[in-house]
């Protein structure tokens, strides 16, 4: 086995008593104190996450916009410098190679923020698609770490420490700022269903920023949060996780991400024809949410859903919902689902040989008050 990769904050996590686990080849904190307490802190106050295992690539050059438009189904032409969006990298069949955020820094320079487990394959995939474009992809030369500060108290904690233009600091926007004496980029984004930011900083700046945020944010209830609560938070917010809700056999349409697929944009993009064809017919499968209010056992990835004796789909993610207090899950139900064959309101989950009732519920499971 190869040595796990470590972020520059590894020693901080261990000193804070975190339990470390392997995540996509990275040694990351799964929890510092308790998943439930860290989850609650993010819903009620704020949490700080080290997500430096994620990758940041820069796509630049005179054709950067055209290349970006070819690579993803969402419409980058809508972005002004300082704005970003959520999208996917698709293969020609419309399957998802990764999901990512793209930020326009200038008209000819875009940042791609990708998942840890796919950063190498993404880099090679994107690079291999640039042949016809005057554009190049590079890993950030000064490697960037990423901290996520998430929760309703985020701006209360951040704004005294980092100058930001709050008038333009809308969701999915990004601004340059300074924090703990270092130049950083801060985006209004996250993976928890709460207001929050992600801070992109050079590796050397991560420890000072981590320390400053935790000490300054402590009176507001800020705590460090591990990947365990990150997963329960994103599940409640019904955000897909690559390898669970998304893979190369699953299209963004099936995943319920059609809002991010702009089939109407004039540019061709990889997977466009396949997605257009899929859009014109009932979907082969559909991502749904379900809840199990009576159950003490939680659904987990790979468990089968049944309607009577008929297997109708598979669980992709599931857990006790810390906010709701009962198990929830996301699953793919095997279609096609049509007016004649509507989605079932209820079904059963096979949890290690026993069937438990589950109800179809509208996603997301949790939506914050704005």
């Amino acid at each position: 086995m190869s040595e796990p990769q470590r972020t520059p904050l590894n020693a901080r996590h261990k000193a804070a008593g975190a339990r470390m686990v392997d995540f996509g080849g990275w040694e990351m904190p799964v929890q510092y104190t308790s998943i439930l307490a860290e989850h609650a802190a993010v819903r009620e106050a704020a949490g700080l996450f080290d997500v430096s295992h994620m990758g940041v690539f820069e796509l630049s050059g005179p054709d950067a916009l055209a290349a970006g438009q070819y690579l993803v189904p969402n419409d980058l032409a809508r972005l002004q410098p300082g704005q970003g969006l959520y999208t996917q990298l698709c293969n020609p069949s419309g399957g998802v190679l990764d999901d990512l955020l793209i930020f326009a820094l200038t008209p000819t320079c875009f940042w791609l923020v990708v998942n840890a487990g796919n950063r190498e394959s993404d880099f090679h995939w994107v690079s291999s698609q640039l042949g016809g474009f005057e554009a190049r992809l590079c890993r950030k030369p000064d490697p960037l770490g990423i901290l996520a500060l998430q929760g309703p108290r985020t701006l209360d904690i951040l704004t005294p420490l980092a100058p930001l233009n709050l008038d333009t600091f809308k969701p999915f926007s990004i601004q340059q700022s300074t924090l703990a004496g270092h130049t950083v980029w801060i985006s209004r984004s996250g993976y928890t269903g709460e207001d929050g930011v992600e801070i992109y900083a050079p590796h050397a700046a991560l420890e000072p920023i981590w320390d400053l945020l935790l000490s300054s944010g402590q009176p507001a209830g800020l705590v460090p949060v591990g990947l365990g609560a990150r997963d329960t938070l994103r599940l409640e917010a019904a955000m897909p996780l690559y390898g669970h809700e998304l893979d190369d056999q699953t299209s963004p349409l099936e995943a319920g991400l059609g809002w991010s697929v702009k089939l109407s944009k004039s540019d061709d993009f990889i997977g466009k024809a396949a997605l257009q064809a899929m859009q014109a017919a009932p979907l082969p499968k559909k991502r749904v949410g379900f809840s199990m209010p009576g159950s003490k056992r939680a659904p987990r990835q790979g468990y089968t859903l049944y309607s009577g004796e008929q297997p109708i789909g598979q669980v992709t993610s599931g857990s006790l919902s810390p906010t709701l207090g009962y198990p929830i899950g996301m699953a793919y139900l095997d279609g096609p689902w049509t007016a004649d064959r509507p989605l079932p309101d209820s079904f059963e989950v096979d949890i290690r040989g026993q069937r438990y009732p589950a109800q179809l519920v509208k996603l997301p499971f949790y939506r914050r008050n704005r």
Partner: protein, 125 residues
């Protein structure tokens, strides 16, 4: 302080009135995180050494429980049904799982003692 016998699957037990009082180890509890559900067998069922007798589920994951010694279930800790958090708070006493009749005492020879279990954990780290 009782003597505990350990398995490599992180169950442990102490002998009390000729029965094995089975728990999971503090290390296992730490690895699981917050326990949300414990499934235990019925009294009277027999389990061979290493056989799965139940499961413990946490927010993060689910794990099977394996009999650290052969025996018939004499009692189960049904208070875990409503208060599974006892496993986190006090795995060795309040959070005990089942009592087994421990009918093959020669199996004790193959259990790990405290020092051997600790050495095994050190090697896992």
């Amino acid at each position: 302080m009782s003597t505990y016998y350990y398995s490599k699957t992180h169950e442990c037990f102490r002998l009390e009135d000729g029965e094995a009082v089975v728990s999971i180890t503090p290390y296992a509890v730490e690895q699981l995180g917050e326990v949300t559900y414990v499934q235990l067998p019925e009294v009277g069922k027999h389990f061979a050494l290493g056989e799965a007798f139940g499961e413990v589920e946490s927010v993060k994951t689910v794990s099977e429980l394996y009999a650290p010694i052969s025996g018939t279930v004499k009692a189960v800790n049904s208070s875990l049904d409503d208060a599974p958090e006892q496993l986190n708070e006090d795995p060795l006493s309040q959070g005990w799982l089942i009592r087994l009749s421990a009918d093959k005492l020669e199996e004790l020879d193959d259990c790990l003692d405290q020092a051997e279990y600790q050495a095994y954990l050190d090697q896992l780290a």
